[in-house]
Symmetry: C2
Subunit: 70 residues, 2 copies
DNA sequence: ACATTATGCAATATATACTTGACATTATAT
DNA sequence: ATATAATGTCAAGTATATATTGCATAATGT
């Protein structure tokens, strides 16, 4: 599914996909596809993105949905 | 680097690498290499491991080290 | 209206996660 | 001493993340 949290975190920092891509060492397309939910990034890339945006893995990549008690 | 937190979380649940591997749908070798720090798992695999062990991404895969102020 | 920046979306190519199968080591149990 | 379970590791194969290039479009600025 789409990663809205990432898109929002990037908007908060006011940086483009291209700028974020440069900072974490991947291409613009890779960032675009992660935001679009088109694939499954590696852990190290997720960590690099989090650090670039001042967030944690749970902030950007953890869904609290189906593993919570009601 | 080695993922000691994962090894500990697995020990707390008292399940083998093989049992965890079966629950998350990968092979025993994959779990072994993640614990040994030999590679860079995908996000979806990390999430599956966390759910199988009742932990979050930050619990098992986030290092607070170099992004902290002194 | 035109230029520029940001984003979306393909096709093909390459690097690497992950599998499979096999063998070795360690620990525990009988 | 022997059997079994858990783990480490290696080589070869397959699947997929990521790169590269290119084109299209929307938004913003001049």
């Amino acid at each position: 599914m789409k990663n809205i949290k990432l898109k929002v975190a990037r908007a908060e920092k006011d940086i483009s996909q291209e700028e974020l891509a440069k900072r974490v060492g991947v291409t613009r397309q890779t960032i675009g596809m992660i935001e679009a939910g088109k694939f499954n990034p590696s852990l190290q890339l997720c960590i690099a993105i989090c650090k670039a945006l001042g967030k944690t893995l749970n902030d950007l990549f953890w869904e609290e949905n189906d593993n919570e008690e009601i």
